[in-house]
């Protein structure tokens, strides 16, 4: 190999404290170096020309520039050598400015150090290989997992950008948690009024294909080319035929089916449409309650369906979709309040969750929007809201703040006072978290305008007395014990990861934190990316957040997809891991540690297992290389031999 070495003086920035002439002279003694010179400003136009001229006149095959940080000018010099016909990876840069001339004034020591740094670069360069990027075609369809508000926003934004969208929703209707809400804070605008049109849009956009009541079964492939198997769960109704007329739901004799949409307050029919605004507005048979499916007799719906859409023999079906990117907006679950036995959630009918109360408040809810107690239908007068039920409590492994409860309690208290002006609302709280736009003002309104009584302190116990509930707790501000006889207690249950979050993450090869929330690529700078290229996050699956933040993330994820799809192909960075199959022993440790799912195992014809790098997915961190016991997998441009050469040359 013929190596040229260029020592930049950087004016006096380097030459001031490093004898660049001496460094160049010494470099001539290094192996394979056939040309070495120092120059005033190597990065300048004439400086680059100097390199290019030397490449042609000395027929150089590799170039070392000792100058500033490669984080500054590596791209510049790579371009320069490429123009002169050398592969850009046959270039090394020694950082003798930031790491040498600028940090010490001892000219001799600096010069010795600069010589070492050049020597290390030369030894590395001697082991460099020409590397080439490859182009991978991008399938410009996007999968959105989850049809809550975040997913809907992402899907609509993508759709608006002309992308084909596949949306998968686990429930029979999209809309997510927001569809169940009556009003939204801090504006008290009607939730379904603002979400409804978006849901309808999803149904009507021609470039959105919606799989409701479906789940992601398996995912393979990589950025630009994912293959997704979707399980369409059996609804026993042919949705192509069903018009959502609702005749069947009128006649169905099984009227005690669990009403998921209304959080179990009241009941629905075995064949049902979850709620009037459901998208898709299609009937589904709940096989747990259907008399025919459980007992073999009835089939009334089949008889009366005007379009003959009932299919009792329906089975789950797997369909495969190919996409180039995935937006995960799989949402969240609410904490199960029964964990706190002392509150009596689940035991006392009038201790309810906030989401149940939300349904009670809703005009489309079980009580038509009239506030009543589940136990006896009486209008409650004394209502206690308890915050932090499953938030900020290490004892139940929920150390985090759910972020939304303070606000929705205030909203519900205001609504209550609005509906029942002679009621008393108490809020038992720990701290008030209201950092959003107009949020703190909203809390203040609840307290000052609506007279909601805020009591700081934890409720210790709730027990019945007659038909009322005694709420015992402390007011830590006043330092007194408090006891309230309440008609209704609302528990502000916190946010937790969706029950399916972890298995889904494993299918997606993305990571999640200890609470099951998905890990973003960087907490500040890459909030909607994951470490699996081509997979993006939106909404609460990444961590608790409110509606505006979820919508914002939905849009952000969509814009990331748009940016990715703005090119027809993806150029891969060639500085990725590479497997020497002759050496690979198929132990799979690389696959195990890869943070990006960029490695998969394959079986050769002779039956031996080998690992394989998906070059488009690999991010070049080198963890696999460090982990591989026999170094069969090497990170290109940062190989063991290159690093060892840098070490060895220091101590020859």
């Amino acid at each position: 190999m013929r190596i040229g070495v260029f020592i930049c003086q950087c004016g006096t920035n380097i030459a001031g404290t490093v004898d660049t002439r001496a460094v160049a002279k010494k470099a001539m003694e290094f192996p394979d170096v056939v040309f070495a010179v120092d120059y005033m400003y190597t990065c300048s136009e004439p400086g680059q020309k100097e390199i290019q001229d030397a490449i042609s006149s000395h027929r150089l095959q590799g170039v070392v520039v000792a100058a500033c940080s490669p984080r500054m000018h590596e791209p510049t010099f790579r371009r320069a050598v490429k123009k002169a016909g050398i592969n850009p990876y046959m270039f090394e840069q020694a950082n003798i400015r930031e790491h040498c001339s600028w940090i010490g004034t001892d000219r001799e020591a600096n010069t010795r150090k600069a010589i070492d740094m050049v020597r290390m670069s030369v030894e590395k360069l001697r082991r460099n290989q020409a590397l080439f990027s490859t182009q991978v075609a991008v399938n410009k369809r996007v999968l959105v997992i989850g049809g809550g508000v975040a997913g809907i926003q992402a899907a609509l934004d993508c759709s608006d950008g002309g992308l084909e969208v596949v949306m998968v929703e686990r429930e029979p209707s999209i809309g997510g948690k927001m569809a169940k809400l009556d009003k939204t804070f801090p504006t008290i605008d009607c939730s379904s009024c603002i979400l409804g049109p978006k849901m309808v849009d999803v149904a009507q956009k021609e470039n959105i294909r919606l799989y409701a009541y479906s789940e992601v079964e398996a995912i393979s492939g990589y950025i630009g080319n994912f293959k997704v198997d979707i399980r369409k769960k059996a609804t026993y109704v042919d949705w192509n035929a069903c018009t959502g007329c609702g005749e069947c739901t009128q006649k169905c004799p099984s009227k005690k089916a669990f009403d998921h949409f209304n959080e179990g307050l009241g009941a629905t029919t075995a064949i049902n449409i979850p709620f009037p605004q459901a998208i898709p507005k299609k009937a589904r048979i709940d096989s747990d309650y259907c008399r025919y499916l459980t007992g073999g007799k009835c089939r009334v719906c089949e008889k009366i369906c005007p379009v003959k859409a009932i299919r009792f023999d329906m089975k789950d079906e797997i369909v495969t979709e190919e996409v180039g990117a995935i937006i995960v907006a799989s949402g969240y679950d609410l904490f199960d309040a029964r964990v706190y036995g002392e509150y009596g959630g689940g035991r006392y009918p009038d201790v309810i969750s906030a989401m149940q109360y939300e349904r009670i408040l809703s005009a489309s809810g079980p009580y038509g929007g009239h506030i009543r107690r589940p136990s006896d239908g009486r209008e409650p007068k004394e209502i206690v809201f308890i915050s932090c039920v499953g938030s900020r409590d290490i004892s139940v492994d929920r150390p985090y703040c759910s972020g939304i409860c303070c606000m929705y309690i205030a909203k519900q208290a205001i609504m209550t006072r609005d509906h029942i002006p002679d009621s008393n609302c108490y809020v038992s709280y720990m701290d008030i978290r209201a950092p959003g736009k107009g949020y703190d003002e909203f809390i203040r309104r609840a307290q000052e305008e609506y007279g909601v009584k805020y009591i700081r302190g934890r409720v210790g116990r709730i027990y019945p007395r007659g038909d009322r509930l005694v709420v015992q707790g402390a007011d830590t501000l006043l330092g007194v014990q408090v006891e309230i006889e309440a008609d209704l207690v609302v528990l502000a249950t916190g946010v937790e990861c969706s029950a399916g979050a972890r298995p889904l993450a494993e299918k997606l090869r993305i990571s999640y934190d200890q609470h099951g929330f998905y890990m973003e690529s960087h907490p500040k700078l890459r909030p909607v990316e994951t470490n699996t290229a081509g997979v993006f996050l939106a909404g609460v699956c990444q961590g608790p957040k409110d509606i505006p933040a979820s919508v914002g993330q939905g849009s952000a994820a969509a814009s990331k997809v748009q940016a990715l799809f703005s090119r027809d192909t993806i150029e891969t960075d060639p500085q990725v891991a590479h497997v020497n199959e002759n050496m690979c022993i198929g132990c799979g440790k690389c696959e195990q540690v890869c943070p990006f799912g960029a490695i998969r195992m394959k079986t050769l014809r002779d039956g031996s297992r080998k690992s394989e790098v998906l070059e488009t997915v690999c991010q070049g961190c080198g963890l696999c290389n460090a982990t591989c016991p026999n170094k069969a997998i090497q990170l290109r441009h940062s190989t063991d031999d290159q690093i060892l050469a840098e070490i060895n040359t220091l101590f020859d």
Partner: protein, 323 residues
Amino acid sequence: MDDKTNALREHVKGIFSNLELVLGWEPGYDPLHTRPFYVRTESDIDRLTANCLSFQNLTRYLAKSMNAVDPAADGRKIGVCVKGCDSRSLVALIQEKFVSRDRVYVIGLPCRGTLDARRIRALVPDPARIRSVNAEGDELVVETDRGISRFALDRAIARKCLQCRYPNPVIHDVLIGDPVTPRLKIDAENPSVAAVEALSLEDRLLFWENQLDRCIRCFACRNACPLCVCQNHCIMETRMPKWITQYRNMNEKFMFHMIHALHLAGRCTECGECERVCPVGIPVALIKEKINAIIYEMLDYESGIDPEAVPPLLTFSPKETGI
């Protein structure tokens, strides 16, 4: 013929038709030696032995020679005899997916210790004339041309056995013989490691240099290790990448043993095979025992106990801060 051998043969006879083969031991060329034995036919079963000479860790063959990860065409399993320490290697191999649990029928043999031939030679003046050795309770009975002598078993067994914490197989389909009491508690300090640590830093270096200087780079320790799974592609031998030169100097010998030790960090199950096979008597396992102690102290992890566990250096916990 001792009871354990009899019981083993009887058991194998009963199940042999369901097995592809059984990995066991047979007598070697003299009464102090035993060799691994592949029981391939019914008639082989009577060659099996199981006693204090059952040195070899047979799980080594499962990953390296048999690739016991793919199911057999006819569904038959490979039977393998394991002592307590061997069983941990098997667990580690299962963890790392080199052996499939479904593929092996594990015959567990509680173990009071295996003999160290070098210590026997020091005990018995004329080891070439030994006719038989037998462990009877806590005693070793050695029969030579000149008669019978008895020694405390502890004077003749291997170093690893003196500090054994898992004499009973941690995984098995059948247990031949009664479980025995471990010599050390699980969280007990490793006495050999403590002995090295009692030296000053300078002396420790000298100690290891003196030991490792004898190394002839034969790689027996590597090849005997059930968890050295790189087999023919060890970085000690390949020149691309080049971690090691061909020089036989102290630097390279030291480096070799550091490679071996660190590659086993969080994986070594202390079966002691590396040390037993060393032709120049380097206490090779002692290096790894320290790493095991570190990992136990730091991460509360012992290798080869839980088939479902992930070896600690192949995972992480974002929470750990004390390190």
